[in-house]
């Protein structure tokens, strides 16, 4: 099965990062998350009550 994940110039997968902007996710998945678009994914997760997942993103 083909993946839709983003790849870099070397063809390696680029994982979602702590500093991915919420607006990027909202646009990609056509969803409104009700927070500022420039908020970072890691901070969003922490704010929403997912500190463990946010921490995993940071590592």
């Amino acid at each position: 099965m083909k993946t839709t994940r983003t790849k870099n110039k070397l063809g390696h997968f680029v994982v979602k990062r702590y500093d991915t902007k919420i607006s990027t996710i909202e646009a990609k998945y056509n969803i409104d998350l009700g927070v500022r678009g420039d908020m970072k994914l890691g901070n969003y997760l922490k704010e929403k009550g997912y500190p463990s997942l946010s921490k995993m993103l940071q590592q």
């Binding site: 993946t3 994940r5 870099n8 390696h12 997968f13 680029v14 994982v15 979602k16 990062r17 996710i25 909202e26 998945y29 969803i31 409104d32 998350l33 009700g34 994914l41 997760l45 929403k48 009550g49 997912y50 500190p51 463990s52 997942l53 921490k55 995993m56 993103l57 590592q59």
Partner: protein, 183 residues
């Protein structure tokens, strides 16, 4: 540039599969927060996320097991003694016989890649690779994950944010542990 959240995993396929699962979690999570979906739908997203999280936990523990033990170790662990060519010497009663025969150790047929989360956790705990405390934590996510088998379920399970954070917290503990302990 971050290429993997599991860069300590040297096996490329495993590392990519872990990242794929992690990516799916990050994609699905905002949907649980969206007001576009009702409660049953949100619970359903949560359930899927828990299954992916448990997959990550299982894969990381398998990585730990794979790095520390051979197929022979597994076969030895699952070996058992069997009485072969049994001969009844004396029948005491219907529930008691005195017998003779060859008592032989038969190596187990289990293979690493056929072990489930419960077996992996049990094996690692018995071999003192993981603590009883961590094993108990892992069991928590295993039990929630197994609720996907609804056939024998006695109630309709629903999942919420707290279930997710519990699962993420366990996954984080396992990830931190494997990162340090997988050679």
């Amino acid at each position: 540039m971050v290429d993997s959240h599991f860069s300590f995993v040297k096996k490329e396929i495993l590392r990519k599969n872990l990242d794929e699962a992690f990516d799916h979690i990050l994609i699905l999570l905002p949907f649980t927060e969206s007001t576009s979906y009702n409660e049953p739908a949100n619970s359903s997203f949560c359930k899927t996320i828990i299954i992916y999280t448990a997959s990550i936990v299982e894969a990381l523990l398998f990585h730990l097991l794979d790095n520390n033990f051979s197929e022979k170790d597994i076969a030895e662990f699952y070996s058992k003694w069997e009485l072969i060519d049994r001969k009844v010497l004396f029948k005491v009663n219907l529930e008691h016989e005195i017998v003779a025969g060859d008592y032989k150790k038969i190596l187990g047929k289990s293979r690493k890649d056929k072990m489930n989360l419960s077996q992996i956790t049990n094996f690692l705990e018995i071999h003192k690779i993981i603590t009883h405390k961590l094993s108990t934590r892992i069991d928590q996510i295993r039990i929630i994950r197994n609720e996907q088998h609804i056939g024998s379920s006695q109630k309709v399970n629903t999942y919420s944010k707290s279930d997710l954070e519990d699962a993420f917290s366990i996954a984080r503990e396992v990830k931190d542990f494997v990162k340090v302990n997988a050679m």
